[in-house]
Amino acid sequence: MSKRYGFVMLVYRCIDCKACQVACWAENEVPLGKTRNWITRDGYRGTFPHLSVDYLPGNCMHCDNAPCVSVCPTGASSKREDGIVAVNYKKCIGCKYCMVACPYDARYFHPEKEVADKCTMCKHRLAEGKEPACVTTCVGGARVFGDLNDPHSRVSKLLRKHRHKVLLPEQGTKPSIYYIMERPQEGGNLE
C-alpha cells in the first residue's frame, strides 16, 4: 500500500509559541507577510474561574477531496500518491482560483514567483528522510507527522486510540490533518 502522509495534532500540547511558523518561514523561504501554517484558538473549556483554551495548529489540510486540485485549470495543483497536495510552479498560471476555492484559506499568492503557494509538508525534507520543519521544531510535540496508511505509525496509533476530528467536515474535503482534543490526566500522556 502506498504511503498517505498526514498530521495528528495533539491539541493539549500546543502552547501557541508559533515556533512552527518561524521554522516554516526559515525552511521554505516564505515571503514576508505570508504564512504556510498558523495557530488558531478553539472555544473556552470549563467554567469560571477554571477556564482554559485550546490552540489548534494548522496548515494546508492536504485534503483527499481537495477543491484546489479540482478547480485548478492547468492541473498545477495535484494530489500525489503519498497524500501531499503539491503545486507545480511551472504549470501555475496565477489565476488564484485555488485560493478562492480553499475553505481553509490555506494558500497565499507568492509575490515573487507569481504563483499560488502553500504548505508542501516539506517534501524536500521527506525525500531526505526528515520530518517537516514545523514538526521537528514543535516545542510541546503537538504536531505529529506520519504515514496514515501504516498501522504501526504513531499517527495511526493515536487515531485508533483517541477520538479525533477534522476541521470543517461539512465541506466534504476529507482532510489529512486530524485533531485530538482529549487531555490526559494531570501529568500523564495520551500515548
Binding site: K34, W38, T40, R41, D42, G43, Y44, V53, L56, G58, P67, S70, V71, C72, P73, T74, G75, A76, K91, I93, G94, C95, K96, Y97, M99, V100, A101, C102, P103, Y104, D105, A106, R107, Y108, F109, P111, E112, E114, L167, L168, Q171, G172
Partner: protein, 397 residues
C-alpha cells in the same frame, strides 16, 4: 432636378460664418472622439505594463480577496460579448427585421469586447502567455478551464461568422449564427459556474449565477446595442436613420423586460441569502445591503442599473429616443457595478475563519488600485476605438 450651386441665392455672410464655426466645432468634437479614447488606451496600456512588472503590489487584491476589479471587468466584458452575440444570432435566426441593421454591428462589437476582456484577464494573470497555457495543460474538472476554452473557441467562431457575413456567404453564416448562439450560452453559463462550483463560498455556490449571468448577458447586450443604434441614427438620414430608430425602440423594449427580470432575480437572491441566517451567505449579503458594498449596490446596481432605466423607458414608452439612450447608458453603468459586486461580495467574508476566540468579524478589505481602474478604462477605450475603425473599414449593413 437639382439647382446648380452657382444659381442658389447667396447666403448672408453672418450665416456663412456661423456655419463655418459649427463645422469647425464639429470637426473638433470628431477629432476628440478619436484622441480622448486613444489617450485613455495609452494610459491603460501603461497601467497594464505596470501591473505585469510590479505584480501583486500594483493590485488592490490580497490573499483574502484574491479576485479584484480586473476579474470583475473580464466578467463584464465576456458576458457583454455573449449578450451581443445572442442578440445577433437570435435576431438572424428568428428574422427580427426591426433589428436587422444592428445585428452585424453587434457581432463586430462582440469580437472587440471579448478581445478587450481577454486582455484584461491576461493583465490580471501577469503574463499574456499564461492565458494560452491553459489550453496546453488542461484539467477537465476545472470550471475556469471549460470557461476559458469555450470562450477561446467562441472568439474564433465569431471571427468566422463576421468573415462569412463580410464575404456574402450567407448560407454558411446562417450555420454560424446557430453555432455561436450555442457557444455563447455555453460560455456564459460556464462563466457563472466558475463561481457556482465553489463550495467554500456559500454566497456563490449553486446554479444561480449561471442563470443570472445568462439573463444579464442579454440585458447588457441590449443596452450596448441601444446606445449604438442611438449614435448611428444621429449620423444617418432617410431609410437607414429610420431603421436605426426602429431597432432602438425594439431593443429598449427588450431591455425593459430584462431589467424587470434582473430585479426579480436580485430580490430573490438577497432574500434567500438572508433567510435562515447561514453565516457566510448572510454576511456577504449584508456587505451589499449595509456593508462596504452598500453604495455600489444601492446607488449603482439597483438605482442606476435597474430603477432609473426602467423609469426612463416606461416614461418614454420606449418611443422617446433620448430617454432610451439615457436608460441604456444608466443600465450599463449599473451593469459595471453589478459585476463588481458579484465578484467582490463573495470574497469579503473569509472562507476559513477558523479561530473561534478571535473570529474574523466584519469584512475583508478591497479597493481597486489606480492601475486596475486605468486598465479597465483602457479596455473600454480600446473597444470604442476598435469599433470605430471597424465601422470605417467593414460593410456592416
Amino acid at each position: 432636378m437639382s439647382t446648380p450651386v452657382s444659381k442658389l441665392p447667396a447666403t448672408r455672410p453672418e450665416q456663412e460664418l456661423e456655419y463655418k464655426k459649427v463645422q469647425k466645432y464639429r470637426s473638433l468634437i470628431e477629432l476628440s472622439t478619436w484622441l480622448v479614447p486613444a489617450l485613455l488606451l495609452f494610459l491603460g496600456i501603461i497601467a497594464g505594463l505596470h501591473i505585469v512588472a510590479a505584480g501583486e503590489e500594483a493590485l488592490g487584491t490580497s490573499d483574502l480577496v484574491p479576485w479584484g476589479l480586473l476579474i470583475a471587468a473580464y466578467v463584464l466584458l465576456a458576458v457583454t460579448c455573449s449578450g451581443l452575440c445572442m442578440i445577433s444570432s437570435l435576431g438572424h435566426i428568428l428574422h427580427i427585421r426591426k433589428m436587422e441593421i444592428v445585428l452585424q454591428r453587434a457581432i463586430l462589437l462582440a469580437i472587440i469586447i471579448l478581445i478587450a476582456g481577454f486582455a484584461t484577464l491576461a493583465t490580471e494573470l501577469g503574463h499574456p502567455l499564461r492565458l494560452i497555457y491553459v489550453l496546453f495543460s488542461p484539467n477537465f474538472t476545472s470550471g475556469i478551464w471549460w470557461m476559458g476554452t469555450i470562450y477561446g473557441i467562441y472568439l474564433v467562431a465569431l471571427v468566422v461568422e463576421l468573415y462569412m457575413q463580410q464575404t456574402g456567404k450567407h448560407n454558411l453564416a446562417r450555420i454560424m449564427y446557430i453555432i455561436t448562439l450555442i457557444l455563447a450560452v455555453a460560455a456564459t453559463s460556464n462563466l457563472g459556474s466558475v463561481f457556482g462550483l465553489i463550495n467554500a463560498r456559500p454566497f456563490w455556490n449553486g446554479p444561480y449565477w449561471s442563470i443570472y449571468i445568462l439573463i444579464t448577458a442579454i440585458m447588457s447586450g441590449l443596452a450596448v446595442v441601444t446606445v449604438l443604434a442611438w449614435l448611428m441614427q444621429r449620423k444617418e438620414r432617410g431609410y437607414r436613420g429610420d431603421a436605426f430608430r426602429s431597432s432602438l425602440k425594439t431593443t429598449s423594449k427588450g431591455l425593459a423586460i430584462l431589467l424587470v427580470l434582473t430585479g426579480v432575480l436580485t430580490f430573490w437572491k438577497i432574500t434567500t441569502s438572508l433567510y435562515g441566517g447561514i453565516p457566510a451567505k448572510e454576511l456577504a449579503t449584508l456587505a451589499l445591503l449595509k456593508g462596504p458594498l452598500a453604495v455600489p449596490f444601492w446607488l449603482f446596481e439597483i438605482g442606476l442599473g435597474i430603477v432609473v432605466p426602467l423609469v426612463l423607458i416606461i416614461a418614454g414608452r420606449s418611443e422617446r429616443l433620448n430617454y432610451n439612450l439615457l436608460a441604456a447608458l444608466s443600465s450599463l453603468v449599473g451593469i459595471v457595478f453589478m459585476r463588481y459586486n458579484m465578484v467582490i461580495a463573495g470574497q469579503l467574508v473569509p472562507a476559513g475563519n477558523l479561530d473561534v476566540q478571535q473570529a474574523f468579524e466584519g469584512f475583508a478589505n478591497y479597493l481597486p488600485s489606480s492601475s486596475e481602474i486605468l486598465v479597465v478604462i483602457g479596455a473600454i477605450s480600446f473597444i470604442i476605438l476598435a469599433y470605430r475603425i471597424g465601422e470605417y473599414f467593414l460593410k456592416l449593413d
